[in-house]
């Protein structure tokens, strides 16, 4: 006769252990108050994918990752993740309410450049793109030390200065677009907080890499300023740049916008060292000052980033999606359970119990994974993966039960049927689940974005299906089958199987 698929004792142990582990884990998760880490499409929040504008090395991209992480954390939002996926950087901040404000800071390259101001230019209403190198400013419009004639005096301002008109030569030249804004080129850029004022700037003489730290503060008259500290290498560099531009305007540019264009030491007659610290004042609001400080502290990115896609989800719409996803899943599950009970009767109850064990274990695992950085967050794609896996999980039972019917039709006793049936069903379940797992692993490795989350949860539930089939379904059905051949409880099982032409 067919060998048995395990001793009675070991099967009871396996069954009891599986049930204890599943519900124990669920109870532990619930008592710890853990829940799944919700994705942004369910919790609301923001997600953005950037790619480097120019080819970047792996080291560059890792630096980008670090800087973006610091920047997001610097904003004081929690649960943010910054990941590299291939050549792309993926930023996701679930649960953040004012997502667009966060996006404004995270998204910028924060390339901080110190450029000399050549002259002011007028912007005509109708402009065309200027191709090639910009022509030099006319000599009378040049903001040279000689033209400006900065003189320290005892006035309230502390100095006097000649006013220089904008150079009309550039009246029809559009300001430099981000793609053309290179540190080595002359550019025309707008200045923060002064509408319609544009400066023609020379090539950059220093970058934000020389700054070690910056803080936004209010000075004695309540104006927002940024105080900064330079690095050990940056300090002498800044001194030399500042000395070269003594009594001239030096523009501090952040991502194509001049943050401030101060005159270097206008109240002094001769240049003195900054000693590694300085203060930038301008037309700052609290937000723009903090933004500049953040950019100066966490540094500029080694490459300029181009947004591929940015998404913000309102918390209300996210919550609606969560309710709809869970609602759909529960209704679907109820339909499936109703059907299996109607079709398999007593054996249908085994499916119900089996799904309860699977669900308890899955919830515990997903919640626990929510506390690690490893697992993708639980989003709509993940919920869909789980809903699809209901079919795969229940199918393992169907394969087994249909085999049982076959065995019973062949006139075998319940005792032998459950053993033989399991062995052939187990092979089928393994073969089919391997295909499912193969799909999940490949998708996880290759695909981008939401597809990965989907693949992760599909793969997880497939592994779960294999485990539950072996550790739960096998012992419970075989034990029922062995007991049932004599006892009356088996009558219901037999009724559930209703095994065709079989009779003794």
């Amino acid at each position: 006769m067919a060998p048995q698929v395990g001793s009675r004792r070991s099967m009871i142990v396996s069954l009891v252990l599986t049930i204890c582990i599943a519900f124990g884990a669920l109870a532990a998760t619930l008592s710890l108050g853990w829940g799944p880490k919700l994705g942004l499409d369910l919790a609301g929040g923001l997600s953005a994918v950037y790619k480097p504008a120019t080819p970047a090395t792996k080291a560059d991209m890792q630096e980008v990752q670090t800087i973006l992480t610091n920047r997001v954390n610097g904003l004081g939002v929690s649960g943010a993740t910054v990941n590299l996926q291939g050549k792309n950087v993926v930023v996701s901040v679930p649960g953040v309410k004012h997502a667009r404000a966060v996006l404004a800071v995270v998204g910028e390259t924060a390339q901080l450049l110190f450029r000399p101001v050549e002259c002011q230019v007028t912007q005509a209403t109708k402009t065309y793109k200027y191709t090639g190198t910009l022509p030099p400013c006319g000599s009378q419009y040049l903001m040279s030390a000689a033209n400006l004639g900065v003189t320290p005096n005892n006035s309230l301002q502390g100095y006097s200065i000649n006013s220089i008109a904008p150079d009309p030569k550039y009246a029809h030249v559009a300001f430099t677009r981000p793609a053309d804004n290179l540190a080595t080129k002359s550019v025309i850029l707008p200045i923060l907080g002064q509408r319609g004022v544009f400066y023609l700037l020379g090539p950059a003489q220093m970058t934000g890499a020389s700054v070690s730290k910056a803080v936004a503060q209010q000075n004695t008259v309540g104006q927002w300023v940024v105080n900064y500290t330079l690095t050990a290498k940056g300090s002498p560099l800044w001194d030399s740049v500042a000395q070269a531009n003594f009594h001239r305007l030096l523009a501090i540019e952040l991502d194509g916008v001049i943050q401030s264009a101060p005159i270097i030491q206008p109240t002094q007659t001769s240049f003195t060292s900054f000693g590694g610290t300085g203060e930038i004042s301008g037309s700052f609001t609290e937000a723009s000052a903090k933004n500049l400080a953040l950019a100066m502290t966490y540094g500029s990115l080694p490459v300029r980033l181009v947004p591929l896609t940015t998404q913000t989800v309102s918390p209300t719409l996210g919550h609606n999606a969560l309710v709809a996803g869970l609602g759909a899943g529960l209704v679907g599950l109820a339909l499936v359970l109703l059907y299996t009970i109607l079709y398999y009767r007593a054996l249908g109850l085994v499916i119900v119990l089996g799904l309860a064990v699977t669900a308890a274990l899955l919830w515990a695992i997903i919640s626990a994974l929510g506390h690690t950085a490893f697992a993708p967050s639980f989003n709509l794609a993940g919920i869909t993966g789980l809903i699809v896996s209901i079919g795969i999980t229940v199918d393992s039972y169907i394969v087994y039960f249909e085999r049982l019917k076959d065995e019973a039709r062949a006139g075998r006793s319940m005792r032998t049927s459950v053993d033989r049936g399991f062995r052939s069903a187990w092979r089928t379940v393994l073969a089919a689940d391997t295909v499912s797992l193969l799909a999940a692993v490949l998708l996880y490795l290759i695909a981008v974005g939401d597809v990965r989350g989907f693949a992760f949860f599909l793969g997880l539930s497939t592994i779960m299906d294999i485990a539950i089939t072996w550790y739960f379904t096998r012992p419970i059905v075989i034990l029922l089958g062995r007991r049932g051949s004599e006892s009356t409880s088996m009558m219901s099982m037999a009724a559930g199987m209703n095994a065709g032409a079989v009779s003794e």
Binding site: P178, A324, G325, G332, T384, K405, V451, G500
Partner: protein, 381 residues
């Protein structure tokens, strides 16, 4: 064990399925099945050639804004966003009270894009009477869709290769080929249906299609597993052609195939009806539609495409050609019920042949004797 069946009465189709008494000729009528599929696929591809796809912004680039506004209307929302600076907006009402505005602003400079996006956010929030953060936004650059598509295609190709290799090793190459063709069938049907009904293609649709392919394959593998089993038992008795054996396997797994498909489709149907239409989560719609169409096609292709195709390919092999000729020489066409086959391969307790003939429903009274004979023959081996 007591006899609880009603086998003395003539069972209806459902009872026959339940009791394993079906004798549907899946293999013999393959031309019918292949024609049905061919018509659907040709219609779909024709629509694809003429109308193409209704691509979402994730593939062609663009921006969209979504807000929950129970008291608004499409016309007032349109004028609100046009005042905010959109030149050619598409405004749709999704579900019961969700409005989605779509437009392509990728040709504007980056700074301008952010400005327009914020203006539209504020306009829509005002229209809905909500704070601006309640407006969902999505901006997709022109190159993102290309990346999503190429990555999905890459995954698809690697998946195809891995699956064909796996089935070739685990089962056999011809099964791999049949399963592969069934999978391509499902892909073409789903894609065609999406084009015919102009359903929007989003990355969620791509996920759903990948799922379908995995599921269709999973379904096919279960059927082929049974075919392989029968190759080692029923086929060795030498009295059945490969096609007849496949037919038997199909009938044997029919209850399982139908149950599994129902069990898989029920939750997906729930996603579509409860999630997307009743509860109004529009993102679930993309999943629901693709999964629903694909699962139907996948269930159909495992039964009506993959298996008849396998039988057709295998019967061209010399060793099975011989079997087919031998089988054809016999006057009667053999369509065994799963219940009868179970008895035939039984090596345990004694079957009751009179029961089999009474319930096999083929109407061929002579079928009881050979079944019993074969059963004995096999027992001797």
């Amino acid at each position: 064990m007591s006899d609880v069946t009603t086998s003395e009465k003539t069972p209806g189709p459902l009872a026959r399925l339940y009791q394993g008494l079906t004798t549907i000729d899946f293999v013999g009528r393959r031309k019918t099945w292949f024609t049905i599929s061919a018509i659907i696929i040709v219609l779909g591809l024709g629509s694809l050639a003429i109308r193409g796809f209704n691509l979402g912004i994730d593939f062609k680039g663009g921006s969209s804004w979504t807000v929950l506004a129970p008291h608004s209307s499409v016309s007032s929302m349109t004028s609100a966003v046009e005042r905010a600076g959109l030149t050619n907006p598409t405004v749709e009402k999704l579900g019961s009270s969700t409005y989605q505005v779509t437009d392509d602003i990728n040709n504007l400079p980056t700074a301008q894009q952010a400005l327009v996006t914020n203006k539209v956010v504020n306009a829509m929030a005002k229209e809905a009477g909500l704070p601006p953060y309640q407006v969902s936004t999505s901006n997709v650059g022109p190159t993102w869709g290309g990346q999503v598509t190429s990555k999905a295609l890459e995954a698809l190709i690697v998946f195809f290769i891995a699956v064909v290799a796996y089935i070739s090793i685990r089962f056999e190459p011809k099964m791999a080929l049949a399963a592969f063709i069934a999978m391509v069938h499902d892909l073409l049907v789903t894609v065609g249906v999406f084009s015919i009904f102009a359903f929007q293609i989003t990355p969620d649709t791509v996920i759903a299609i990948l799922t379908i392919l995995g599921y269709s394959l999973y379904d096919t593998v279960v059927v082929f597993d049974r075919v392989r089993d029968n190759t080692n038992t029923v086929l060795k008795s030498g009295e059945m052609s490969y096609g007849e054996m496949v037919n038997l396997s199909m009938n044997q797994t029919l209850a399982r195939s139908i149950n599994t498909s129902l069990v898989a489709i029920m939750p997906v149907f729930s996603v579509l009806v409860v999630g997307a239409y009743i509860l109004g989560a529009t993102t679930l719609q993309s999943y629901g539609v693709a999964l629903f169409v694909g699962l139907l096609s996948g269930a159909y292709s495992s039964i009506f495409i993959a298996s008849p195709l396998l039988a057709w390919m295998k019967e061209r092999e010399p060793r099975y050609q011989e079997l087919a000729i031998r089988s054809a020489k016999r006057a009667e066409h053999r369509t065994l019920t799963p219940a009868a086959a179970a008895m035939m391969t039984s090596d345990g307790s004694s079957p009751r042949p009179n029961r089999v003939s009474a319930s096999s429903l083929t109407g061929r009274s002579s079928s009881s004797a050979p079944i019993q004979a074969r059963a004995r023959k096999q027992k001797r081996r």
